[in-house]
């Protein structure tokens, strides 16, 4: 029983924690983010398995995690409200070459983050060449270039 409860509690706890961290936190993995992710994985593994390293326990934990994951995806499919709650919504941060500063501040982003995405995805050099920049639900910044 405790393996299932552990896995469920850990799934929910991690989901809430990553919601607090924001969608950008692990969207663009820097070297340090990668190390952080590994440390989180290691700490989670200890809590999930406890001192029971049996095949049954590990299968039970994996089955529980996948079951919850599939359950949530089915819920998201049926309810727009749940989908919005779990995945969030995209947000515009550049509109017709102008930064929406208040939005950037809340999203904890700076102009350099947008220009980095603009250069890597569209080869854009200046902010004025961006028509729209949007933070997607997965935390990535997508860029729509000005026409002509």
């Amino acid at each position: 029983m405790d393996s299932v409860l552990r896995a469920a509690a850990m799934y929910v706890a991690l989901m809430v924690l990553f919601k607090i961290a924001g969608r950008r936190s692990l969207a663009e993995l820097t070297t340090f983010d990668f190390v952080l992710l590994m440390i989180i994985g290691e700490a989670t593994q200890q809590a999930l398995l406890g001192d029971d390293f049996s095949l049954t326990n590990s299968m039970l934990v994996i089955v529980t995690l996948i079951a919850i994951d599939v359950g949530f995806s089915l819920l998201k499919q049926r309810s727009g409200w749940v989908s919005r709650l779990i995945d969030g919504e995209p947000t515009i941060i550049v509109e017709n070459g102008k930064l929406l500063h208040q939005r950037l501040r809340h999203a904890r982003l700076v102009e350099a983050d947008i220009m980095e995405a603009a250069r890597s995805s569209q080869g854009i050099e200046k902010l004025e060449e961006i028509k729209f920049a949007i933070i997607e639900r997965n935390g990535k910044i997508s860029i729509i270039a000005q026409e002509g």
Partner: protein, 193 residues
């Protein structure tokens, strides 16, 4: 805004100023919903950002609580209690975590070079496993709820018992450490999941 320096007051102050700032922001043209190229609901997005910010305060609060020992080993958790007559002294951790090990030191005062009975009763043995007990008692036996050990005092009438406890249960556990003729001490312990 007045706050008295306690962590809860500081967090309340931060939350209030955060909510006020978000309300002030709501009128800003940058934060009005757009419907092209995507249809936005900025009031919802503002709630998400507020959740992130308040969540961050809570994470910092949890970190501070961890530092001061709310989750075992720290100022709040480490206890040193004496019985009313001073014959029993117990140093222990009030907060434990399930599966982790902590030490407990029991010191008793009695007549020099004699055997003293020491009762460990209450819920201790239900919530904890005793991983080690040093020095080995002269004798030990079970009680209806707990166990009794006999220890040898030194030439100053003192005896010390070192225990390593592993938290197995969850929740509150109340136990007693007593010697004959002494009120003993009551230990309140909590095991986190």
């Amino acid at each position: 805004m007045h706050y008295d320096g306690y962590p809860i007051s500081i967090v309340r102050h931060c939350l209030e100023s955060e909510v006020k700032m978000m309300k002030d922001d709501a009128e800003h043209p940058d934060l009005q919903s757009r419907d092209y190229p995507i249809c936005e609901d900025m009031s919802y997005q503002m709630k998400v950002w507020r959740f992130e910010r308040i969540g961050w305060y809570l994470l910092v609060l949890l970190m501070v609580c961890g530092l001061i020992g709310l989750f075992s080993r720290g100022l709040l958790s480490t206890r040193d209690v004496n019985s009313m007559d001073g014959s029993v002294r117990v140093e222990y951790e009030m907060f434990h975590r399930n599966g982790s090990m902590n030490s407990m030191k029991i010191s008793v005062n009695g007549k020099p070079e004699t055997q003293i009975e020491l009762d460990l009763s209450g819920e201790m043995l239900e919530g904890f496993s005793i991983e080690s007990l040093q020095p080995e008692p002269l004798r030990s036996r079970s009680l209806s709820q707990g166990m009794r050990v006999w220890v040898q005092t030194d030439n100053q009438g003192q005896a010390t018992l070192y225990l390593t406890l592993r938290g197995d249960g969850l929740g509150f556990f109340r136990s007693h450490v007593t010697t004959p003729g002494s009120p003993g001490v009551t230990l309140n312990q909590f095991i986190f999941p």
